[in-house]
Symmetry: C3
Subunit: 396 residues, 3 copies
């Protein structure tokens, strides 16, 4: 069922969104129009790829990847996205200390950008740091561009920070939008964003925060569930509430996986560390307190272990709408008896959902490419129109 | 003496080989037609490069390199090959543990492949592991493609495993084919694939295994020689025997370098570790037995030292056909008094053959590119025909 | 104020410089014509980038980066330059021991170059080593090309060695040429290349050596100033003297920052290690004498500390021509109270000059690209002319 690219392009033009010269850091900073424009471009690019049409809107140009945390999947998504647009990726791989502060950030941001058209940053380890760093880079680029150091202002794309993970949540959104047959059909659908047990510790909060803040914009009934103490950043809770109210959906917090799963159309069970623990961890890291960090890890793993029952198993899936909610995960999942002894999801539940989660991830390269296109082109619809007109085969 | 590209293309079409949608893992899994098709494409691409014609059959697309063992030469060959076809290389660089098993391999193979057109893997350290891993990746890709996760099925190219080193052996083959003026002229030629002394230990078996299994298909007289105990994998010996019989050549194993060199047209003296030692090594590594590994290394080096006379020197070269056999090596060679005190080859023999070995290596990027082209194009001859018609200068 | 590309191209043609088939290792090996040709190409490429015209004179091809010392800025400059020309960068990242000597260099240089169009090397750590290594690579390439191993002879570009840092000094030169409105206006201008205090030790000498040898060719009054003992390589002093004499400028060495700053139009205060210390360091490193190295570092830092007054502060800036000399630095600068307690430059002086230093750095990608273009094209003006005629938009 091939998408009609031409009519999608017309819809994109009608949105009349303007992200040119901006960054893509947090979804809740963007208007509905802007979110829809990025999603539309992502879908168009995905379809053009499927139809073997080249989408190299850049003939030369660098894209900089700056991963301040390990990553395989996101690295490949970013590389794929940039390559799809015609950009070559150059990794910025400095020690954290070297690019941490003030003048160093200002200078480095300019030094890497003379011929750069996009910058992707992942910095999700420390509460209060990642988003701040991205803004610092963005400001340095603004300054460099304004002062004539740079011929162009490369957009900064958030590949995961302490607050949000927009490339993930927007891929998640496209996955369920297509599963249910359109944004309209998401209205009233219940999504359970729940904590789940994992034998590891310190997983970022950006995925659940990204999901509750984004899905609440689409009229969905969002239930966030976690064991007592595993709170998210309070600000993101406020955003979700506000969005739910505006969109005609709902937002609810509970401490029961069962409550959240009940009648859910979609479940998203995933481990994370409590916000307050992440704050303590940041403080200990800043003091280089290794003993303190080790102690905190032990304490948390012990606390986690109390909640081994927070596993997405067949019994809990039976509670969902018709027993067959869509299972989502950002991957890799901790699968009981597969990747660990006890984890976020049972092997049988995961196996049935596995291909779905792969497809969910498959939107990410196109979402990233769409963010870059939307933020670096005055009129993305016109640019895509030119590519369609040229209609160059991507693969001979 | 420029090759006639057009007539080569006609020959390629006549071969009517079909590698589309397949991988290139072991030469002995491929038919003669398929081997010849890859070799033909490699020669055509090499000639197009020499004639400054662009061969970018991909306009965008990633190629993934997955090196589970260090490599400089193969890395550059792969990068060069992919670049020649228009692909950008993204390295997959995970710890071995992370991509070792089951779901992790299945998932990673898909996660890295949404926009990927070729995957090159080197995994030659452990007997029984490398080829198995490549097949696991290939199966995951089959599944992902069938289930609609991937728009395309990127071929897996074996950049060296525990069994075979096809990109090396096929480059070797092109080198001698061109040296002797055609495949016909290889019939009856004697090639001595012999062990040689090296002060290091644990060199893979894939080169000698790749050479005896491939050269035996071309009617050559293959003599494999090694000191007692330095056996290759028994299966590869069986393949070589079968091939020799079918091709009208011969295959013989001896324990004498002199016997192998006698009247040889080609000599390929190269160190390797005994198959049984490699098996013990794999077992020790799996148990993380560092003391055992150290002991095994000492034992092997001591055993190696008994065979320092297995050096390719001027005296042994005199035994060859007219005293001037072609010397081959996959590089880097252990050269006596140059890279070590006593090694595989004397300085004077190597110096005379040096440029030849460089040229031998020079086929590799084109062989890799040919494997990718053959496995990812329904009709490679047609695609190359289009490139020839476009006739875009590669370098202005 | 857009440059007129066409008339620049005519000027380039008139220069009739011939760098084809050569390397770019030391500026003082090049004729004035050759220097001007590279600078002209750099300016043309910079303007074409600003005017959004694609400059991909290579459709495929690799560029090899070989960084034997850490680098972020130069790495990005090289990547940017190669991408601008259409080349893909592949990093050569071997341990130093592996590519240090004789046959290994000869072989590796060829193995990485089958499809390679440019090689950038940074090797600035050891006196007597870097330039020697680059020449060894260049000779191996000459040999490989002559013997038919390589279809092309990729130029070697010096990205910093023990003697010179041509991509830096030529970017510096373009910066001041444009600041003062042309090469003619540099005549008689005074430039103070001075040592400055830094809390670190062992900074290379190639920047001051590169600056004094290049600026002295343009009729400038070059004053080199450093505390007693912080001498540069004597040969480079001789070159600067010779150049000054020929160009009608002057070259003077003093031991006073104030003397150098007096009436200077341009100041370039920057730390370096004494030549003799660098020689001792090389000797200790070769012996793997860790205690000796530690001792040397302590000794040097103690000696450095005697010269904390060698800081470029407001008071010293007041000594310069009208109190407002152009401040230059290759970045990153050691800024007092910003990146260290006491450094090369005061925060207030740096802040005023900051954007200027960024622009100074902004020439580097284009200078590198120009060196590659000049050394790999028989007629760079003709090639650029073709690109102008094609007039392909670089960014849609």
């Amino acid at each position: 069922m091939a998408m009609d690219i031409k009519s999608s392009l017309t819809e994109l033009e009608k949105l009349n969104a303007d992200l040119y010269g901006k960054d893509f850091l947090l979804t809740w900073e963007k208007s509905d129009k802007e979110i829809h424009a990025v999603l539309k471009i992502a879908e168009i690019l995905k379809e053009m790829h499927a139809q073997n049409i080249t989408t190299d809107m850049f003939k030369t140009g660098l894209a900089v990847s700056n991963f301040r945390d390990n990553s395989t999947r996101t690295r490949f998504s970013f590389s794929s996205a940039c390559n799809l647009l015609g950009l070559a990726v150059q990794d910025l791989d400095e020690g954290k200390s070297q690019i941490a502060h003030g003048e160093t950030v200002r200078e480095t941001a300019n030094m890497i950008s003379f011929l750069t058209e996009a910058i992707g940053i992942r910095d999700d380890m420390f509460i209060g740091k990642g988003h701040t760093y991205m803004k610092e880079v963005a400001e340095a680029l603004d300054d460099g561009f304004k002062q004539g150091v740079l011929n162009q202002r490369p957009p900064v794309v958030n590949l995961q920070c302490d607050l949000d993970h927009p490339t993930q949540s927007m891929s998640d959104l496209l996955f369920i939008k297509n599963h249910f047959g359109g944004f309209e059909n998401l209205k009233g659908k219940k999504i359970a964003m729940t904590w789940a047990y994992s034998p590891s510790y310190g997983k970022p909060l950006s995925v659940p925060q990204g999901v509750i803040t984004l899905m609440s914009r689409f009229g969905m009934e969002v239930e966030l569930a976690y064991p007592e103490g595993y709170d998210l950043l309070p600000d993101t809770i406020e955003v979700a509430k506000k969005h739910a109210k505006k969109s005609g959906g709902s937002f609810k917090v509970s401490n029961s996986m069962e409550s959240a799963f009940k009648n859910a159309d979609i479940v998203y069970p995933k481990s994370w560390a409590p916000f307050k623990v992440m704050e303590r961890r940041t403080a200990l890291l800043e003091k280089n307190d290794h003993a303190g960090l080790k102690g905190l890890e032990q304490e948390c793993l012990a606390n986690n272990a109390k909640f081994k029952s927070w596993e997405c198993d067949e019994a809990k899936m039976k509670l969902t709408k018709g027993g067959k909610a869509v299972y989502m995960h950002c991957l890799p999942a901790d699968i009981t008896d597969v990747s660990c002894k006890a984890g976020e999801v049972s092997a049988s539940v995961f196996e049935k959902a596995r291909i779905g989660t792969y497809k969910e991830a498959g939107y990410k390269p196109f979402v990233i490419a769409a963010m870059i296109a939307a933020c670096s082109k005055k009129n993305p619809a016109k640019v895509i129109g030119e590519l369609l007109k040229t209609n160059k085969k991507r693969v001979l």
